[in-house]
Structure formats: C-alpha cells, structure tokens
C-alpha cells in the first residue's frame, strides 16, 4: 500500500470519527427536550417529507432563491456520488475506478460537471444577494457577526470545492489526451474541457498537470471531509436535519395548540373534589431541573422544537412575513429559533463539562428572549407557513408564554384584566351572562 493511501485512510477515518461524535452530541442535545410521541399518520409523513424536503416545494414559493437553491441542492446530492469513486480510488490507489461503466460513466461525469458549474454560479449569485445587494432578511438584528460569517464561509467553500472538482477534471482530461500513464481515457468533460483550453493546459508539462490534478483531487476530498465536519457547527446542518424535521413536523391544523394533560388533571380535581389532585412529576435524575408549566429552558420544550432549532438555516423567510416584525416590533421568529439553538448549545457545553450531569448555570431561554418579543406574536402562523423545512416558531413562543403566565404570573397587565373577566363573567369582556342575548335587539 502506498503512502498516499495510508494518509487518505487516516484522514477519512478521523473525519468520520469526529463527525459521528458531533452528530451524537447533537442527538443527545435534542433529546434533552420534553418527550412528545410523534409517530401517527406515517404515510402522510413520508409524503410530506418527499414533497417538502426532497421536492423543495416550499423553497420555490420564492422563485429566484428557490430555483438557485435547487441547483445547489441537486449539485450537492448528485456530485456526492462522485465522492464514492474518490473514496475507493483513495483507499485502493486506483484511478477512476468506475470508468469501466463506459458510456454511462461519461454521462455521469458530464452531468456532474454541468451541475458543478451551475452550483458554482448559484453560490456566486447567493454571495452577491447576501453581501452586495444586501437583501434585508440577511442583515436584520439577529444576523450578528457569526451567522453572517457562517453563510459566507459555506458559499465560499462550495465555490472552492466546485472549482477544485472542475480543475481536477480539466487537468485529467488534458492528461488523458496526452496519453499520460495512469490517466485512462474515460468520462465526458463538457465544462472542464473549456476550462482546460482557457487555461492553456495543452501547453503545460505533464508533470505540472499531474501536480494540478493531484492537488485538486486532495483538496476536493479533504475539503469535502472538512466541510462535513463543519456542518455540526453551522447552520448548514440543515442539509441533514431537513429530512427528519419535515417528517416529524406538525400535521395537525397549524393553530391547534399542544394539550397539557397535567393541567387537565389539576382542573378536574378543582372542579370535582372527589377527584384527587395529580401527583407531582417525578424529580428528574442527574440534577436536571424539574418540569415546568410551559417552558423556562430548553428542557421544557418538546424535543421537536429542539430539532427545529438545529434545523434552522437562518434564511429569514419566517421573519420577513411576520406581521409583528414587518411593523417594526422586536419579535423575529428566526431569532426565537436561533436563540433556542444557541441556548441548547450552551446547555450541551455545561453537560460536556460535567460528565452529563446538569449544573445550573443560572441562565435559561429568558436570558436571550425578552417578554417584549413574546408578547408581540399574533399566533398567525405566517412563519410556520413560510418555513421551507416546517419549523414551528409559534410552538416555542406559546410554550414560553405559558411559563411566563403560569409560573411567573407575568403577562401584560391588560391580559390579566382579560383573565379576570373570563373568570368572573365567563366572557372576554366585562359583560355578564345575562347580557348574552342583547344582540337580538337592534
């Protein structure tokens, strides 16, 4: 076995090991959420996933971004088939191991090249939209330095990977034409052939070309493995979580709120003294905080809300349709989701430091999210409708409101008045039941 193959296997193993480690960490963090059983209507779930995640149906609601995104997405998925060949070549020291497929191989390589150049262009347009045209949803308040850098890095990385792939093919194609040893004649190179002639590769020394080809080969594969390991630290993790997140998404009517059975038991015992009050929830192990009414911290949110948080790619479509945000209020649904994720990451670090035990760090979701944001929500669900991967920010907002009201008694003052009238009059306005038929009179 040659030294190249040894290095390659080591790099590959390290990349897979580190990535698996991070995925397990994220999985653990998501499962810190409250239990919620989601396994009904399976056929509908698969269909929704096929349509929304695989089929990108909600992306194309905004055609420009949607179609460009489909190019990058298709490019990404399909070019990864190429990665399989690269891995086999890397391990066994072969070159273009699938070239025996003949005409089909040419078709594959040819289509990879077309997709690669389209992805390259789409990423370039995305960079222009984000950093030159400065589309407002990429520059709002929660788009602080890291989210902006993250987006820029992802796009730049993809452009570099695609460039390496095309340069590699250009050199390879030229070497094939020269009849260089090792470089079997295989594949179709509709894009890189043009690139090769632009760069005047035909006039280069074979050794230079081999250098370019080898460098790009290594850059491409190490880059892909590096990018893979960048995902768990980035909003780009959505490329993986989009699928399960849509599968598990809410199929019930959007405006149907979560039931709270523990409260039913309490209310029933209040209304009928013969029913004993429910037993308090069991004290959690490992120092985790006790269950709250509503959500104070990530532990109180459904695990699905936490998966939502890790799935968010910060596109801001939710915020751009939010009536509160449009009218200058503090609320941004995207910020709620990003805050949830950032808090969850923070909680995860505390757990890592204490061998999986929870040690109160004195912070919670309210350290990041203010009452003013929460009380601006009209629960209109424009955000959930707009999200291309079916994230539900309203669910988080309402769970936080529940905590504010039921445990902190901190609603907006006028809402307290509304509660009191409902309690006293059974009406949201201060009219007694005897006035219920007054409408009949003109």
């Amino acid at each position: 076995m040659n030294i190249g193959a040894v290095i390659f296997i080591l790099v590959l193993a390290a990349a897979v090991w580190w990535f698996t480690r991070n995925v397990r960490r994220i999985r653990r963090n998501i499962l810190l959420g409250r239990e919620e059983v989601i396994n009904d209507r399976k056929a509908e779930r698969w269909a929704t996933m096929a349509r929304v995640a695989l089929g990108q149906s909600k992306m194309v609601v905004r055609p420009v971004a949607g179609i460009l995104h489909i190019l990058v997405y298709a490019g990404f998925v399909i070019i990864n088939i190429e990665v399989l060949e690269i891995i086999i070549d890397g391990i066994f020291g072969t070159h273009r191991v699938f070239s025996f497929l003949g005409g089909f191989y040419s078709f594959l390589i040819g289509s990879f090249e077309v997709l690669a150049i389209l992805t390259w262009l789409a990423c370039a347009i995305f960079l222009i939209r984000r950093f030159i045209l400065r589309i407002p949803r990429f520059w709002s308040r929660e788009m602080t330095e890291w989210p902006r850098t993250d987006a820029g890095l992802i796009l730049t990385f993809e452009i570099l990977l695609m460039s390496a792939f095309l340069l590699m093919n250009a050199a390879d194609h030229t070497l094939q034409g020269m009849g260089a040893e090792h470089y079997v004649k295989a594949g179709a190179f509709p894009v890189s052939a043009v690139l090769a002639s632009w760069l005047g590769m035909a006039g280069m020394e074979p050794s230079t070309l081999i250098g370019i080809e080898r460098f790009c080969w290594w850059f491409h594969i190490v880059g892909i493995l590096g990018f893979l390991n960048y995902l768990p630290y980035s909003k780009h993790f959505h490329i993986l979580l989009a699928f399960p997140n849509v599968w598990y998404s809410k199929l019930r009517p959007k405006t149907q709120m979560d039931h709270m059975p523990r409260i039913t038991a309490e209310v029933q015992s209040m209304m009928d003294p013969s029913i004993p009050p429910p037993a308090p929830p069991a004290e959690p192990a490992n120092g985790f905080p006790p269950e709250h009414f509503g959500a104070k911290d990530v532990f109180d949110l459904s695990w699905k809300s936490l998966m939502d948080a890790y799935t968010c790619t910060e596109c801001g479509r939710c915020t751009s349709v939010c009536p509160a945000n449009i009218t200058g209020k503090l609320l941004s649904p995207r910020k709620i989701v990003m805050d949830t994720r950032d808090r969850l990451e923070e909680v995860g670090k505390v757990l890592d430091k204490n061998n999986g035990k929870w040690v109160d760090d004195g912070k919670d979701l309210f350290s990041r999210i203010t009452d003013e944001e929460l009380w601006a929500c009209t629960t209109c669900n424009a955000c959930t409708q707009a999200c291309p991967v079916n994230i539900d920010p309203v669910h988080i907002i309402l769970d936080l409101r529940r905590y504010l009201v039921m445990e902190e008694s901190k609603p907006r003052q006028e809402l307290n008045a509304m509660f009191t009238t409902i309690e006293n009059n059974g009406a949201a306005w201060a009219y007694g039941p005897d006035k219920r038929m007054d409408w009949v009179k003109e």
């Binding site: 009517p253 959007k254 409260i263 039913t264 309490e266 209310v267 509503g294 009209t378 409902i422 039941p433």
Partner: protein
C-alpha cells in the same frame, strides 16, 4: 332589515324535548361588541331565511377559553373548556356553527382531547353549504360586478386550511373578487390574534391593522369582506386611520349575503 329574528335557546328546545339542526355559537365578541352584534344578527337572519332549526346557548354560553390559552393561561382555558363541554354534552350537541374563527378553531381542534367531540363549522362554510343545497338563494344583484377584496382570517385560512368557502360565498354575489397580494396562505394577519385584541401592541413603527388595511384599500375595492369579527374591528379601524371610511366599507360575508337578500 326589519324582520324579527326568530331565535330559540337550547334550554327552551330541550324543555320541548327537541334537538336543533345546529347550535349557533355566538361567541363573546358576537354577543357584546356593537359592530359584531350586527354580524350576529345578519347570520341569524340567514339561518331564519333558510329555515334552519338552530338554537343558541344564551346565558349558558361562556368564553371558549381561546384568548386565555393564547395568552398562556392554560388553567383558565381548560376550566372554560371543560365547563362548556359539560354544557354542550349535557344537551347532546353534535353540530356547531360559529361566526368566530377562534371559537371555531378551539372547539374543532382543541375540545376533542378534553371530551368535546362536535362537527364544528365556520359560518362561511355553513352559508356556502346552504347556498349549494339551495336552501338560500342570492336574490337581486345589489353587489353585481362590484369590486370586493377578501381578507383571510388566520385561524380559518392558514390555521384550518379554509380558503375557498368564503370566496365561494362572495362569488355567489356576482362580485368581482380582487385578491390582495398577500392572500390565502400568504395572507397578512389583522393584528388581533394571539390575544393581541386585549392588549396594547408592543412598540413598533406601525400598527399591523394599518399595514393590512392599506393593502386592502390599495386593491381599489370598495368593500373589504371579512369572516371574523376581530378582523372586522381591526380593519375597520385601519380604514378609518387612513380616512377612507366614507369610500371603503368593511363587511362580514354574512352581512353581505343578508344585505343582498334584504334580510
């Protein structure tokens, strides 16, 4: 607008050992708000005209608990819900119609888990059904060719996927329906949902109802049709804010049908 409204309460019907075809859930806003009361009357007149045997709960009706729940008070919501369910089940109610998309959403989606199982309809669906069955007809052409725009209530549209019934009702009037840019799935909220109706808006640079009514007025339609009393209040205020109340009217679809039929 002179016909006497024929109305029976559930208590009266039950005393006679009778059951209604449908229970009309009036809702708090429909009972107490002066503007909304007109919508309640219009819908009751439509029910009368269609010979629908309906009843109301009158003083036995209580807030569904929706605003309390959206404002985070789950205890109060469940107390209200369980009380209402006791009353409804006590009368053996199976079908409910309401002019309020919030009551509709709560009773249809959130009461079943608490033991309240009913077929719940929004009045736009109910009127549409009456039209389809020929139980009412739209007479005269008072709205023929008039430009009307329709504002989707969030809890009916996005919330429960009902975009067509109210539009079909409007089409029965031979109106020219002009859609706002943000309509159906993309409709902009009126600003009242999620218990906002009961509180001051949080600080911002504009009111949501102004943003939405500007869009509605911008269509050039002289009538803004609504299917929710909260939207009605918000958009009426928004139109006034622009000083357009003389030119543009905000009306519930029930009022339009009642008006067309001179009920």
């Amino acid at each position: 607008m002179s016909q006497e409204i024929q109305i029976q309460t559930m208590a009266e019907l039950a005393a006679k050992g009778e059951k209604p075809e449908v229970l009309f859930w009036v809702g708090c806003i429909g009972s107490f708000d002066d503007r909304a009361k007109k919508v309640t009357r219009a819908f009751a007149r439509i029910l009368n005209a269609a010979n629908v045997k309906f009843a109301v709960l009158a003083n036995e009706e209580s807030c569904t608990g929706d605003p309390a729940r959206r404002a985070g008070n789950e205890f109060l919501f469940q107390m209200q819900a369980l009380q209402n369910i006791t009353v409804l089940n006590g009368y053996g109610i199976t079908r409910i119609v309401t002019t309020c998309p919030h009551c509709f959403n709560v009773m249809k989606n959130e009461y079943p888990v608490l033991g309240g199982h009913y077929e719940v309809m929004h009045h736009s669906q109910f009127i549409n059904q009456l039209l389809k069955e020929g139980r009412i007809k739209v007479e005269g052409g008072s709205f023929q060719g008039q430009q009307i725009t329709y504002h989707d209530p969030c809890y009916l549209g996005r919330g429960n996927g009902e975009y067509e019934a109210p539009r079909e009702v409007l089409r029965s009037l031979d109106t020219a329906l002009v859609e706002m840019k943000r309509s159906k799935e993309k409709a902009l909220c009126c600003g009242a949902g999620g218990a906002q109706m009961w509180k001051e808006a949080e600080p911002g640079n504009k009111e949501v109802n102004v943003e939405r009514s500007e869009e509605a007025v911008g269509t050039g339609a002289k009538i803004v049709a609504v299917a929710c009393n909260f939207c009605n209040t918000m958009l009426t205020d928004g139109v006034k804010h622009q000083g357009k109340e003389a030119e543009v009217q905000v009306k519930d679809i029930a009022e339009l049908i009642a008006e067309a039929n001179k009920l």
